[in-house]
């Protein structure tokens, strides 16, 4: 993955618009957050291989960027996106890595299901 180039990422997002897609969306503090920092309120969410189609997708803000997808019937967004890659399977992988290289958020789009 490379650091986000917003213009290039915008072009890639545009290329997925209007298609039937599978999505991976994840936010996490890690399962040990409340172990190392007692009292920490550990929240996160994960969805993998839900099917979506978006009509408009945008990269917004300064780095770390926000990415929002407008669906015919709702929204998807992620904030804190720092890195991206169009992988060898043509999937658009976006991730937000913190200062120590740990993933905090992931948003991925694919025309085929992600592996289990």
């Amino acid at each position: 993955m490379e650091k986000v180039n917003p213009e290039e990422l915008q072009r890639l997002i545009d290329s997925f618009a209007g298609k039937e897609l599978y999505i991976h969306l994840e936010t996490t503090n890690g399962s040990y957050a409340a172990h190392f920092n007692e009292g920490f309120f550990n929240a996160g969410a994960f969805i993998r291989n839900a099917q979506i189609r978006f009509e408009l997708g945008k990269v917004a803000g300064e780095a770390p960027h926000r990415v929002g997808l407008k669906l015919p019937y709702g929204w998807v967004y992620a904030q804190g996106i720092t890195h991206y890659e169009l992988d060898e399977h043509g999937r658009l992988l976006m991730a937000g890595l913190d200062g120590s290289g740990k993933l905090a958020v992931a948003l991925e789009l694919s025309e085929t299901p992600f592996a289990y």
Partner: protein
Amino acid sequence: MAETIEKERAVLVVFPHPDDEAFGTSGSLSKYVDMGVPVTYACLTLGEMGRNLGIPPFATRETLPEVRKKELQAAADAIGIKDLRMMGFRDKTVEFEDDEKMVQLISGLIDELDPSLIISFYPGYSVHPDHEATARAVVRAVRRLPEDQRPKLYLVAFANDTEEGLGQPDVEHQVSEMLDRKMRTLKAHSSQTAYMLEGLEAAIAAGEAEATERFAKERFYRYRWHEDFEESF
């Protein structure tokens, strides 16, 4: 506290993530292998949800499982484990699987391998939801056996309130002579351990007694059947 490593008929290790075996058990496992004890490591997931992707990133969310699969195989090789089983579950979802199915999975392994010792996590004291789900499945499977036929359970507990709840570990293995293999096991999991190893190696090289001591001792709790975490399942 038991200190000598007893020879076992067979050892079954059940952990949910590649690297769960590394810090707390790989020295003991190396000893069992050297004693000629058959060791089976059932690793439930490939640690797909690991957070460390590095700066610059060495993997993506989608390539991490392949990275960790190779690391797991290399770690098993470093220990000398010949029977490594990747059980195909997904990281962070073990607790959401059907509980009976998980018990059956462990019961099946016990029936097949007839272990005299099972190494896993201690329910209630193992922090990560996958650890806890694994620990519950192991205890439940063993509970279903007649008392005189139950394998021993050596369980890893590291929650912050472990000492409060369980006191001191029952079993302590001195694995000083296995430190080389233990270090190679940890290094095999470099996607997870690189950061921690820097500090550890430096501390050991500097002869820091506490670090070396901690690294050379592996501690386990026997399961307190008299304080079972549930009445039945």
